[in-house]
């Protein structure tokens, strides 16, 4: 059993490392085309990473070891999330169930590492970005937990793989009001967590409006490369999770070669579709004022909470 899980995990890591920069490239490309621009091409993120690999890494005098170790922790947590979340296959390790709280905690380790890198820079921008990022992460967590809790009630367990498998076996539950409410809440939470448009504008230059960018403002060369890759991996993993929950078919339930191939192909398609929809939506949305974001998150939490109470009514009626 573990062998199958191990191969799936390896496949998931390799696929996500290759695909997530392309996903970001695709999202920028879609956005450019909608704005009438030609856009830098889907491979541009990989070119950025290659350039950052050969660029020189500068370390300011005030910064300590955290500026060096932080980016590595972010990437490792990104990779771990890719292993734990049922993207290609839903076969968990026996001794390590991909439990909801474990996945969220691994994500949060990355968030904390990024925030500490921002703080260690010792500049006003780093502190500002880190403070806002942590505030939003603190407010997003109830939504994520309660939303996936709502999805776990019909299944009876909070392990993500069992939720996905249960949704494959019972297609009706995918379209039920419970999962729709929970998924809308989850989308808002993912957008807030990965710093996409309504909450934070990734391509802004005005330092005072930044959240994610402000934390990486001091990192250069290799550090910046790891930070970017880590963030892209998290975005890819979370979008993959949304994809697996929204369209569970195609997720491999055993480690056979055919199932894995189908899993990989459907994963890439799902990511491409979700990525372009998100990018297209971003063109129409302007950045929210920072103190309107808690209202958005409160709204998403209420949706998740309604999903939980609705799941009782549905279970009762069903």
């Amino acid at each position: 059993m573990n062998a199958g899980a191990a191969t799936l995990a390896a496949v998931q890591v390799v696929v996500m490392v290759v695909v997530s920069p392309l996903l970001v490239g695709l999202m920028r490309q879609v956005r450019a085309r909608l704005e009438g621009r030609v856009g830098a091409g889907v491979l541009q993120p990989w070119r950025d990473l290659r350039k950052l690999a050969i660029k020189e890494t500068l370390r300011a005098a005030g910064t300590g070891r955290v500026s060096a170790v932080g980016p590595l922790v972010l990437v490792v947590s990104g990779l771990l999330v890719c292993v734990l979340i049922p993207l290609v296959g839903a076969v968990p390790f026996v001794s390590l169930p991909d439990d909801l709280f474990v996945v969220v905690s691994v994500l949060l380790v990355g968030t904390v590492a990024l925030a500490l890198v921002g703080l260690d820079a010792g500049t006003a921008f780093g502190g500002m970005g880190s403070s806002r990022h942590m505030t939003i992460a603190a407010l997003v967590e109830p939504t994520v937990l309660v939303a996936v809790y709502a999805l776990s009630i019909p299944v009876g367990s909070s392990a993500l793989s069992r939720i996905v498998v249960a949704r494959i076996d019972d297609p009706a539950s995918v379209a039920s009001p419970v999962s729709l409410l929970a998924l809308v809440a989850l989308v808002i939470a993912v957008v807030a967590e990965t710093g996409r448009l309504p909450v934070d504008n990734p391509s802004t230059h005005l330092e005072l409006t930044m959240i994610h960018e402000a934390m990486v403002i001091e990192s250069s060369g290799r550090d910046l490369g790891w930070l970017e890759l880590g963030s892209w991996l998290r975005l890819g993993a979370l979008l993959g999770l949304l994809g697996s929950l929204l369209v569970p078919w195609g997720v491999a339930q055993d480690a056979s070669v055919a199932a894995v191939l189908i899993g990989v192909v459907t994963l890439v398609l799902k990511l491409a579709a979700l990525g372009s929809v998100l990018a297209a939506a971003e063109v129409f949305v302007a950045k929210l004022r920072l103190f309107r974001v808690p209202e958005l998150l409160a709204g998403s939490f209420v949706l998740a909470f309604l999903a939980v109470t609705a799941s009782y009514l549905v279970v009762q009626a069903g």
């Binding site: 910064t63 070891r65 590595l72 949060l108 260690d120 010792g122 880190s130 942590m134 505030t135």
Partner: protein, 665 residues
């Protein structure tokens, strides 16, 4: 003489030894000798606790000269668990104190009080009947009040803090006394065994339950009776506040568990709701105040309120679910309380000892003037970091395991057929999640502002690492935090025996299994997977670092500005400012802005002064009016006695008439 009795005797003897050393030894030797004796007392307590936990029986009767019946000590497994926690924390704090104490905290009174304090915390879980429980409780309270007062000559606010603490502690003593009285009246006997025969459905049981829970909640620092905690901890010396926060507060939790598990086991559903309500309010309010606190020890004190709130939430869930016959998650919830107790004791001791060594090195507790201590105090930074990870419940620490178990019991506790439970459980999940998120924010702020970037004040610039004994204690407690996180199986066995219910057991080599709920967690496997994944990243980084070593640069990129001074960095206040704006109505910060215009024109500004004051809303709203009311009654009473003889004679005249009337009725 069974082993347990030997252990108890050993503790009494060691306590006496410590006190005598404290009084007799020369000041130079006193710290080392008394410290090691106190550490031995802690270890003896822990060992006795382990023996009691693993089923050791023992009954020690100590006759007292007082006409009250003798002190009876026979620790139950539940009591044993808390003796282990209190003993271990006491031992580590004693070792730490050897290097830490200076000035008034090194005096003989404070060492003697410290020994009595540790002894008191061992006797409370060991007591077998109400009278000895109350005696031990008062011993603990008195000793800790003396300890809080150690530095009253140096800082004025210590006196008011000690006053608040003494009043609140004895308020809790009073409530517990009345509660036990009601119970022993109903159970016809003051021993816990007699009291456990009381029928939980009776009114007496409910009254006693409410009184006892309020009494223990005041000691545990539950909102709204938490007001003494953020005052007493910054006032007490660090090793004392570590023991108070990590062990003494748990005696309140022990009391509630005693009531819920032993005295009135089959509780009513609304008991669970009361505990749940207290727990959720305290967890949220505590962590909110912690996230905006700038005084390091005040932050840790509020985080204790939060953690104790989570424990009450777990107990409440256990009682509520057992009342609705949802057995699996109920047992898990009860067991989770003890996991939370052990994990909080571990990481809170680390954090307080870390804060102590920061205070020892810089003499400053205000985060806004600290910074850059990571390079200057590596051991403290590492230990405080691990403690902070534990407090934020991040993987591979004991906090993560405890919070994981709590969430499992909440998530699997929901049973749709009961409307009330169906609504309460998701709310509890949301509260735990928000608390975890805010705890994350709090400890990133505490660690990031204190240890990273550049020193914001002159004191932080000249900081240096503390003496050896402090570093040893820090390392030991940090190792325990990671150890319990990696091998939770050890805790699982102890918890099952202490609570006497199933629900939690060892999974695989040392993982934590929750059969009642069908969930399991093996942190060792998680660590293995992390290392496997991290290897590739480390190899790539190592190769790149060899090809292009990083170049040190003198200034960070501050937008090209010429002077990137440390004062431009974010401070703890500014870090928590978005949060205080989001939770504005819960925190009620008082902000006033003074703009002095240059000359008469409205547009030229000479000076802008912004001041923000974050009060404890509960204290301002509930306690301040209460204190003012008492003052007014006092003033009115003073008018009664205004020196006029006629008024006094008039009182006795009226009294005489009243008596005559009453007699004649």
């Amino acid at each position: 003489m069974t082993q347990v009795e030997v252990g108890l005797w050993a503790q009494l003897v060691l306590a006496l030894a410590t006190v005598s050393i404290a009084v007799l030894a020369r000041p130079a030797l006193r710290a080392r000798l008394a410290g090691s004796a106190a550490a031995a007392l802690g270890v003896a307590g822990a060992v006795t606790g382990v023996i009691a936990l693993t089923g050791g029986q023992g009954r020690l009767v100590i006759p007292l000269a007082l006409p009250v019946d003798p002190v009876v000590l026979s620790p139950t497994p539940l009591g044993g668990f808390f003796m282990v926690v209190a003993g271990a924390v006491g031992a580590v704090a004693a070792v730490y104190a050897i290097g830490y104490v200076h000035g008034p905290s090194a005096s003989s009174t404070s060492w003697a009080a410290f020994a009595t304090f540790l002894l008191g915390m061992q006797l409370v879980p060991g007591a077998a009947d109400a009278v000895s429980f109350l005696l031990a409780w008062e011993l603990m309270a008195a000793a800790s009040t003396v300890l809080v007062l150690t530095e009253h000559r140096e800082r004025i606010e210590v006196r008011s803090a000690a006053l608040w603490y003494a009043v609140m502690t004895h308020l809790s003593f009073l409530l517990i006394l009345i509660g036990f009285a009601v119970l022993s009246a109903a159970g016809h006997g003051t021993s816990f065994a007699a009291m456990s025969h009381v029928d939980p459905e009776s009114a007496g049981a409910s009254i006693a339950f409410v009184l006892l829970v309020l009494g223990f909640a005041t000691k545990a620092g539950i909102v709204p009776m938490h007001v003494w905690l953020p005052r007493a901890h910054p006032a007490a010396p660090s090793h004392v506040s570590a023991v108070m926060s990590a062990a003494m507060v748990k005696m309140g939790v022990y009391g509630v568990l005693l009531v819920v598990l032993q005295l009135l086991p089959a509780g009513r559903p609304w008991w669970g709701l009361v505990l749940l309500a207290l727990g959720t309010v305290s967890a949220l309010y505590g962590i909110l105040q912690a996230s905006v606190a700038t005084d390091l020890k005040r932050l840790l004190a509020y985080s204790t309120t939060e953690n104790v709130g989570l424990m009450f939430l777990a107990i409440g869930t256990g009682v509520l679910l057992r009342a609705y016959a949802v057995v699996g998650p109920a047992e898990v919830a009860a067991g989770t309380t003890l996991l939370l107790v052990a994990s909080h004791a571990a990481f809170k001791t680390t954090l307080f000892l870390g804060a102590g060594s920061v205070l020892h090195a810089t003499g400053v507790r205000d985060l806004d003037r600290l910074g850059g201590l990571g390079k200057r105090m590596p051991t403290t930074a590492a230990a405080f970091g691990i403690g902070a990870l534990g407090a934020a419940a991040l993987p591979i620490t004991c906090g993560f395991v405890a919070e994981w178990a709590l969430l499992q019991s909440l998530i699997h506790g929901a049973r749709p057929e009961d409307r009330l439970v169906a609504v309460v459980m998701p709310l509890a999940v949301a509260v735990v999640a928000l608390t975890a998120g805010l705890a994350l924010m709090t400890f990133v702020k505490a660690y990031g502002i204190a240890f990273l970037a550049r020193p914001r004040g002159p004191e932080a610039g000249v900081a240096h690492e503390g003496p050896a004994s402090m570093r040893v204690a820090l390392v030991v407690s940090a190792v325990v935090v990671v150890g319990l996180g990696l091998l939770p199986g050890v805790m699982a066995r102890a918890v099952v025996r202490a609570v006497g219910l199933g629900g939690i057991d060892v999974f695989g080599v040392s993982g934590l299994g929750l059969p009642g709920v069908g969930a399991a967690l093996d942190p060792v496997a998680l660590t293995g997977l992390t290392l496997l994944v991290a290897v590739s990243v480390l190899v790539v980084t190592w190769r790149m670092a060899r090809r292009r070593p990083p170049r040190p640069v003198e200034l960070a990129w501050g937008g090209g500005g010429v002077r990137v001074s440390p004062r431009m960095q974010y401070t703890a206040t500014s870090y928590a400012e978005p949060l205080s704006r989001v939770f504005d109505d819960a925190l009620r910060p008082e902000r006033d802005l003074e703009i002095t215009h240059a000359g008469e024109s409205r547009y030229l500004v000479e000076r802008v002064q912004f001041r923000q004051q974050l009060e404890d809303v509960v204290e301002v709203r509930a306690y301040a009016p209460g204190v003012r009311l008492v003052d007014r009654i006092g003033l009115a009473a003073r008018r009664l006695q205004n020196g006029s003889i006629h008024r006094y004679l008039g009182y006795s005249f009226v009294a005489l008439i009243a008596v005559l009337i009453v007699v004649s009725l």
